[in-house]
């Protein structure tokens, strides 16, 4: 079975070679039949890769330890559901997932393109670039990161998956994130094909837009899922750590945001067509650069896979050829990028959009430099620094606040309407929220007001667009609303959260301002493969009482000690309770009250919905300009 899967993968590689050759013939001869061979080849490739992937999943589920990655990442006793999804908890498997998603998006791309009536030369260029990218990744998968590497004689038992990964987060986070990372390849393919085709105009923007929206929304959701997973897994209320890998996922997200707004900016006279090209190539560039940084071992992080220098060199090579090559092509075909001769834009709103794009790109650069600068500094001078939260607080945060403020200027407001429909609701809602959360600091009031400003302006414009029946803008406004909610959640968590640490014996309680923490009982016991210490903690906040059962577990085989935090979610705050140090009779109970955290996840999900709805809508209907 596994041999079959391996052979299917090799066949897929061969077929993508065939697709490449066939597409070149089509470019040369303009004969539609060659294009059809490309389509057939692409479909067969997708089919073969899918079957191969399914067989690999089957190997995991049936605990076939003759497959090396199954041996390294699974165990007979592991719960079935994790066996199923452990496929992508390791380097080779996650690369395979990447390739599969690449094939999926490629498959959808040609079907969609066929229905959209572009000229044959363009379509054949698309198929050729696509085939080239397929080949590049198949080579990486088959020769540098082979998921079907075998072990003979077959080992008896596997090594087990890292307990931190045995979680629902593992199931959801990688595939969703990968749709975002890989989706940008479609944008890249479309742009490079257009460059080779010697003609870029506004039509390209409409082609790119649905894919950019799709990638962006899945990246939003994927990043939020990763953050949520870290939040409840690590159990002390942190949800963003400015970890290099987190920053890497933020980069394509930011540049896609800039791209989407540039496309919007181009709607009238298409003045910034060149920017669209540069940003599109850049999006794919960040996606590739990100995988390079994570898989080459140049970073030391909890996310990094085990490193192999050859992998790093190959990925760097791909990055250079595709991205530097893409930009070289851009410079060569510079004169084929056309703007519309239309009305000159001097509108205020377009200036706002330009400012927004500028700010997003500046933030992007801040994140890039924060990730990359320490590496270079150490390489050039041997001096080690760490760029942590402090740096981002002085750069990222002020810039984001600036962006949030200008996000409200979506249309030019009629003065009266502005007062009644925006300013007054804003003041009232700010007062209400500050009262609910017991806000005392002026800075926090401002933060809340700015977040609510984004929400209210989005809602106002949403109502307006629905009234005018212009459905195309709705997705974007929903995302704006979501961004406001997200900002509200982040403001709340970072400024209004409180920690309460009580060193108590069993039966004792400690009183803080409005919170009482009592340690009621303590159990010890043994479960499957660990010993545990479970505490019963009662927390009283104002007049609400909550009961928690945090645990401390010691695993017998690895000797690892894990802390299981007990969490209670409410809309206004989350309460997390964990067991800390034990000093004789006194147990340290740590209680974290995290205000408004749930709104972060809600806001991110709304952002995802807006982008996703918009992308689906645009995939189905192409707006004539």
């Amino acid at each position: 079975m596994v041999e079959l899967a391996h052979i299917l993968l090799i066949l897929s590689f061969a077929f993508s070679n065939f697709q490449f050759v066939s597409s070149l013939f089509c470019i040369r001869t303009n004969d539609v039949n060659y294009l059809k061979y490309c389509y057939i080849s692409n479909s067969v490739t997708f089919f073969c890769v899918s079957i191969s992937f399914l067989i690999l999943i089957y190997s995991f589920v049936s605990s076939d330890f003759s497959v090396k990655i199954v041996f390294e990442n699974s165990h007979y006793l592991m719960p079935n559901i994790y066996k199923f999804f452990a496929v992508w908890g390791n380097h080779e498997g996650s690369m395979f997932l990447w390739v599969w998603v690449l094939n999926l998006t490629g498959f959808i791309l040609w079907i969609w393109l066929e229905r959209n009536n572009s000229d044959i030369k363009f379509k054949s260029y698309v198929m050729s670039i696509q085939a080239l990218i397929y080949m590049i990744f198949f080579i990486y998968l088959l020769f540098l990161s082979n998921p079907f590497s075998r072990l003979f004689p077959v080992p008896m038992q596997g090594n087990d998956l890292n307990p931190l990964l045995q979680d629902i987060g593992l199931i959801l986070h990688p595939p969703i994130l990968y749709i975002g990372y890989v989706g940008v390849s479609s944008i890249y393919i479309l742009v490079i094909a257009s460059l080779f085709n010697n003609h870029i105009d506004y039509k390209l923007n409409n082609l790119i837009r649905p894919w950019a929206l799709l990638s962006w929304s899945f990246l939003t959701l994927g990043i939020a899922l990763g953050s949520w997973w870290a939040y409840y897994e690590l159990g002390w209320g942190g949800f963003w750590f400015w970890d290099p890998v987190e920053n890497i996922s933020l980069m394509p997200w930011l540049i896609l945001g800039a791209l989407l707004h540039t496309i919007l900016l181009n709607r009238k006279d298409n003045k910034f067509q060149k920017w669209v090209v540069i940003l599109s190539i850049g999006s794919f560039g960040f996606s590739l650069f990100g995988s390079f940084l994570v898989r080459s071992g140049i970073l030391n992080s909890i996310h990094s896979f085990s490193s192999d220098p050859l992998r790093g060199i190959y990925l760097m090579g791909i990055f250079f050829v595709l991205i530097a090559g893409g930009y070289l092509l851009y410079a060569v075909k510079y004169n084929y990028i056309f703007n519309n001769s239309g009305e000159k834009q001097t509108k205020f709103l377009d200036k706002v959009l330009i400012l927004k794009v500028l700010l997003i790109l500046t933030i992007l650069f801040v994140v890039v430099i924060a990730t990359v600068y320490p590496i270079f500094l150490e390489f050039l001078t041997g001096y080690k620094i760490s760029v942590g939260t402090g740096y981002f607080e002085t750069t990222f945060v002020p810039l984001s606040i600036f962006i949030l403020i200008i996000m409200g200027f979506i249309t030019i407001y009629n003065f009266k309407k502005f007062i009644y429909y925006i300013l007054i609701p804003l003041i009232l809602s700010t007062i209400y929220v500050c009262w609910l959360l017991d806000v005392k600091s002026f800075i926090v009031v401002c933060g809340i007001a700015i977040s609510l400003w984004v929400c209210i302006t989005a809602l106002y414009n949403l109502k307006d667009k629905i009234r005018k029946k212009s459905f195309f803008a709705i997705g974007g406004l929903i995302s704006h609303f979501g961004a406001g909610v997200l900002a509200l959640g982040i403001t709340g968590t970072t400024t209004l959260s409180k920690d309460y640490i009580a060193n108590v014996k069993v039966g004792e309680s400690k009183k803080f301002d409005e919170v009482i923490v009592s340690l009621e009982k303590l159990h010890t016991g043994v479960e499957n493969n660990y010993n545990f210490l479970k505490a019963e903690v009662k927390v009283k906040i104002k007049d609400k009482k909550y009961l928690f059962y945090p645990e401390k577990r010691k695993f017998s085989n690895r000797g690892m000690v894990t802390v299981e935090t007990a969490i209670k979610h409410t809309l206004l705050y989350d309460v997390m309770v964990a067991i800390g140090n034990i000093d004789g009779e006194k147990i340290m109970i740590k209680v974290y009250k995290k205000s408004m955290v749930t709104w972060i996840w809600i806001g991110a999900f709304i952002m995802f919905l807006g982008g996703f709805i918009s992308s689906l809508y645009r995939l189905r209907n192409r707006k004539k300009q």
Binding site: I298, A324, Y330, A331, I375, F379, G382
Partner: protein, 173 residues
């Protein structure tokens, strides 16, 4: 102007590739502290009841090695044979970090005491003064008390042959 994106990418690719190929330094070598004087500290001595183990040792003539260890530390067991090797060419001094003195003595009895003198920091209060972040750690200190090399983690042949021994050899010239 139109070549700017390409040139930027070219520059970045070259920088990163060279950083990748030339990056050889061990992450555990702490360069920032080289050239600074070891802090003043005083700890109870492990074996001599009334004596103290303090930083004055490092201000007398001759180069010395300070090794931070603990009985509960697995890596300390594996680095022991390298410490033995090192003790033949340079005097070793040890600090037991966050350790129970009885357990430390037992550990040294079992593994063999390679140190000329051992101090004990039971609760780690002096660790910060010296700059200890964990075990094992090894410092190479010269006759004036200046730190010449600091390594985090268990010693092995590579660290000894590539770094510590060459520095010691050099000073003999």
């Amino acid at each position: 102007m139109k070549y700017i994106p390409f040139l930027v990418l070219l520059l970045i690719s070259i920088l990163i590739t060279s950083a990748m190929l030339l990056k050889k330094d061990d992450n555990n070598i702490q360069n920032y502290i080289i050239g600074t004087k070891i802090s003043e500290f005083e700890l109870p001595s492990l074996y001599e009841k009334d004596d103290k183990f303090n930083s004055k040792i490092f201000h007398s003539n001759g180069w010395k090695v300070l090794n931070v260890f603990a009985s509960w530390c697995q890596q300390c067991k594996s680095e022991h044979k390298y410490l033995k090797k090192l003790s033949k060419i340079i005097p070793l001094y040890g600090i037991a970090y966050n350790d129970n003195p009885i357990k430390t003595k037992r550990f040294l009895d079992k593994m063999g005491n390679v140190y000329s003198s051992v101090g004990i920091d039971e609760h780690g209060n002096n660790a910060v003064l010296i700059g200890i972040s964990g075990v094992p750690e090894t410092y190479l200190i010269d006759g004036q008390g200046i730190i010449r090399f600091k390594y985090l983690g268990a010693l092995d042949d590579k660290v000894l042959d590539d770094y510590i021994i060459p520095i010691i050899e050099e000073k003999k010239d």
